[in-house]
Symmetry: C2
Subunit: 453 residues, 2 copies
């Protein structure tokens, strides 16, 4: 026999059981997005490479999946590129399109392309796969789904408060206890200003972002290695050591950052978001964390990160505000704020904590045995009335041995197995077996829907 | 300003309104698939090219989107291929993967790869996009969704009866009046045998498949051009002219095809399927059409095609039985039968016949005006209770001019606009405006959910 075919490295098939679990996550997120007035869009899997290139850094450009042009794709290609083995520039000649790398850049392209049709503020959500030519490893795939919700065209911090409620509601509904960490890019800028190193904003944030993992001493070593003066490192210490309740932290930050205008603005924004969120009540822990950075170059205001409290895993959601989403496509002045849910990590958390709903909820409700032509025909009629009542039902297609049919019912996780044999056919009855406890009863066929409901 | 970015040729963005219409179609199909016990799977967008190549004919191979290998993709590539401009063979060296072209080949690959985990019969459905590098034209896209349901591992004609009920239920629920056309590949083989041209089966079916479009005379001309003898063409005539009710057609076919064993078998199969389906009742017209072929090389038994009665468009669904789905991957003896729904054509039919549900059904139920910080905070609290009651609700994020906020509510198709201004804030009331008739009332805030429900 031929070698078994397989999926490409880093990609996955999803079985029916996996799909029902994944749909549980997507449906929960989608329902929350809709409750909050976000509207779904979809963009094509492939974008023009001119849309994608240069948006994710040099490393990102390499991780884009590029699609070979159709037809005579060598036409007009400079052979020197081939002789020089200049694979980067050659790829740009061989390929005009690539697979989307995230949902943010296609969304920015969408906003610019359709700006005349869009009513601002535009609250969109998008749940689609993205592709990255990363080296596959545990929990990292070359095809994975992102679930993004963003508001563009509104500077109001009310949007942040809404997004935090969405985080809270999604994880409450999924049953995952989480901590939501908050920061503000302006606070980070204020800190850099305060300690006299405004030009080292990125060095500082990259280093202090690791404080949870490596501790303060190692962070200070790294800051020194990145050229921060001992005075600056000493000045940073009291900020990193801020503790207490949220209100206490905000007060201490306000005092410490009082000399910095941008820092003070950041504390005010953070206070508005925290107070507004707490006033509405939430299940999640809400933590102010001045070391939180998350791709600092991208965010310009609020920064959000969500971690599961009962599972050792990285962040399972996150987001923030960015002031110039569409500038790269020539449309300035459009501010946005958004969050993204990582479906694969959420899946792993739900599985580890045994939080997925009972799988029989997704299975067909009742499987009818097949005893032959006349019995099957009668079963099909009954099954039709069940389906009209919204009950999923099926008839085993072949008149196979009963052991095989019951084995199939078991394997499918069907909660009820129904039998119309010779005597039931004569009586207008049906025998229904509860697969969970093995009990069975023979009832009038017309009563079946009520028993299964 | 930079040139507006755009989607690649033949691909589309879907706006919120388009998405709600598309979801209406997908949700309807998915719900029917589930009622009938079909279970969802997903496969990756990209497959190894070895899985895809050679499965769709030479033309199909050219229409596959191929993904340029990452890294040093020129390594080991024979430069002679480049010098010869042998783009076909060179592509096979530059690319190991391609985008899926349909859902059938990936499904066959799935069955073979996971055969040890699968319980047969396996009833799967799959709703995912596919990609083809076709020349784009009206109604033909390079990215489009397929919605497939198949049963593999069962030869029973009960599966056909179930699939026809699914066709009927999907289109009944969508409100589209349809005719379901039925044929059987064995009848076509019987016809070829009967008229003494068994080797010209494909020529005959390709020609007679066009009878609806070009008429019998032109079909006969084409048959002559394809080398059929005048005697054979004359013998074919009474078969093509069979008319009457389904039962009459079946009887006439049985008589005419009596000399052919395979033809007789085909008529028996068709009769079982038709009788079984009619016994259960259906809304659709059920037509026996011996000229129906639909990619004959693929199907081996029942052939199904569905056409909308009230719209001039090609088939909107179709399918059939194929006896060796997985043989190409080295696993023989697995028979399958399936149907596929064309979401884009169904979309066009629903739009043309004005059959989409009212769009306000998909909009946020209520938008709250924003009069400033205190009013917005109170609105957010009320909105939270509405969402807990399952009512989608949002607050306009900025305290903009009222005209702008109402304009937004109008543009979004929101059925209710709610106002908590100074006096409502003092009273604990809310003013709610019905956007359809312009009426408004001021009510206790606690009564709002009941008004909106």
């Amino acid at each position: 026999m031929a070698q078994k075919p397989s999926t490409p490295k880093g990609t996955r098939d999803f079985s029916p059981v996996e799909m029902s679990r994944r749909n549980y996550i997507f449906d929960t997120i989608r329902e929350v997005f809709r409750l909050f007035g976000f509207r779904q869009i979809e963009t094509p899997a492939m974008e023009n490479l001119s849309t994608l290139m240069g948006k994710y850094g040099e490393e990102g450009d390499k991780l884009l999946f590029k699609i070979l042009n159709s037809g005579d794709y060598l036409k007009g290609v400079d052979r020197q590129l081939i002789d020089d083995n200049d694979t980067v520039r050659l790829a740009a000649r061989l390929c005009d399109r690539g697979l989307r790398y995230d949902l943010t850049v296609p969304f920015a392209r969408f906003v610019v392309q359709h700006r005349d049709e869009l009513q601002l503020p535009f609250k969109r959500f998008q749940i689609q796969p993205v592709w990255r030519a990363d080296r596959p490893q545990k929990g990292r795939y070359r095809e994975f789904y992102q679930c993004d919700a963003d508001v563009v065209g509104s500077n109001s911090l009310l949007n942040e408060i809404e997004l935090l409620q969405m985080e809270d509601l999604v994880f409450s509904r999924l049953g995952i206890r989480v901590a939501i960490k908050l920061n503000n890019r302006k606070i980070l800028a204020g800190i850099a200003e305060l300690i006299g190193e405004p030009d080292k904003l990125i060095d500082i944030t990259v280093a202090i972002d690791k404080i949870d993992k490596i501790g303060l001493d190692k962070v200070n070593e790294e800051l020194a290695a990145r050229g921060l003066s001992p005075e600056a490192i000493a000045a940073l210490r009291p900020i990193l050591e801020i503790d207490g309740t949220g209100a206490e932290r905000l007060d201490k930050l306000a005092t410490l950052l009082a000399p910095s205008e941008v820092g003070t603005k950041g504390v005010e924004e953070l206070r508005t978001v925290v107070d507004g969120t707490l006033a509405l009540g939430l299940n999640a822990e809400l933590d102010i964390d001045v070391s939180l950075a998350r791709g600092l170059n991208y965010y310009t205001g609020t920064i959000i990160e969500v971690k599961a409290l009962d599972a050792e895993i990285g962040s399972i959601s996150g987001g923030g505000r960015y002031d110039n989403l569409t500038g790269v496509f020539g449309l300035d002045g459009i501010s946005g704020v958004g969050i993204s849910f990582g479906a694969d990590r959420i899946y792993d958390v739900l599985l580890a904590l045994n939080l997925f709903p009972d799988e029989t909820a997704h299975a067909t409700r009742v499987l009818f045995a097949n005893f032959g032509t006349a019995e099957a025909a009668e079963s099909l009629k009954l099954v039709k009335t069940l389906r009209e009542a919204g009950i999923s039902a099926e008839v085993y297609p072949d008149a196979a041995k009963m052991k095989k049919q019951i084995g199939y019912a078991n394997a499918m996780g069907v909660p009820f197995f129904a039998i119309i044999g010779e005597s039931e056919l004569a009586d207008g009855t049906v025998t229904v077996k509860n697969m969970a406890d093995g009990s069975q009863q023979t009832i009038p066929a017309a009563d079946l829907a009520a028993v299964l409901a």
